[in-house]
């Protein structure tokens, strides 16, 4: 239950960081804004790690599969490409389309990692997509009526 609440809070944080990053990007440019983000982030986590007294040792690092190091680079690619694409499609579709990509990849990755396809995940995922779609349509109608009024 704790993890479920945490994961929902993760969603809150996603929106907050999108709003804040968009604000900074508007002021100084998207890429410069992203740079500042990572400088602030790295400084903070460095302080936290030093306070905790945990250190990276080379032996452990070399035993990790190389691809595991690419997450940080992917994060930057995601931010950069989102900034190109999001203005070009209606905002209400962004969450929906992103989610379709995420859930399909998530089911495939869970299958590769744990070697089984969960029917519940697929049925549940489709329901979540339908729910988002339904609400997107209401948003769209509201936007259209609002613009006409």
């Amino acid at each position: 239950m704790l993890y479920i609440v945490l994961a929902i809070i993760g969603g809150f944080l996603t929106i907050l960081s999108m709003v804040v990053n968009a604000g900074l990007g508007k002021e100084i440019g998207v890429f410069r804004g992203t740079f500042i983000n990572y400088v602030v982030g790295l400084s903070l986590i460095l302080i936290m790690v030093l306070m905790l007294g945990s250190f990276l040792d080379i032996k452990t690092l070399t035993s990790i599969p190389f691809y595991a190091f690419l997450g940080g680079a992917l994060g930057v690619i995601i931010v950069a490409s989102s900034n190109v694409i999001i203005p070009k499609i209606p905002a209400i579709y962004t969450v929906l389309l992103n989610f379709i990509g995420q859930i399909v990849a998530g089911i495939i990755i869970d299958y590769i990692r744990f070697d089984f396809i969960s029917k519940g995940k697929i049925i549940g995922g489709i329901l979540v997509i339908l729910g988002i779609l339904y609400n997107s349509m209401i948003d769209k109608k509201q936007l259209r009526d609002g613009n006409n009024a």
């Binding site: 996603t14 100084i28 983000n37």
Partner: protein
């Protein structure tokens, strides 16, 4: 065409969360976030170099605009913890639910400088469908 790209970004997000989760399982949550930010900072520095942009700090803009990095750290910490315990698909679905919830609240009250759009009760139907989907994903 751009819609296809939006789906692809979703795929990338899942791959990223997975890679980060694997890293976390090897070196622990805090060190993983450290490595992720070192790699991320190197990548964005490379992009700035290629685009020949200099990093700047502008005076007189609201201080909270600089908190994105701190929010990002919390987000990666939370995602890594949940990924190890809930798996990729459930973590992401619950995250989307959180996103929709907070965006509805922001829209309804017009928070953070956004235009206010009153919450429509009809949207409770959509939220209920999403919730049922999440419950099915959780208990299976």
């Amino acid at each position: 065409m751009y819609k296809l790209y939006a789906i692809l970004i979703g795929v990338l997000i899942t791959i990223m969360v997975t890679f980060n989760g694997v890293l976390e399982s090897h070196i622990g949550n805090f060190l993983a976030v450290l490595v992720i930010h070192i790699v991320g900072l190197s990548s964005i520095s490379l992009i700035l170099l290629l685009r020949q942009e200099r990093p700047t700090i502008k005076k007189g803009i609201p201080l909270y605009l600089y908190t994105g990095g701190a929010i990002g750290i919390l987000l990666v910490l939370v995602n890594n913890i949940c990924f190890s315990n809930l798996g990729a698909s459930l973590t992401l679905s619950l995250g989307v639910f959180g996103q929709l919830l907070l965006s509805s609240i922001i829209d309804h009250f017009g928070l953070m400088g956004m235009k206010a759009y009153k919450f429509q009760l009809k949207k409770l139907i959509g939220f209920s469908i999403i919730l049922v989907g999440l419950i099915i994903m959780t208990i299976y």
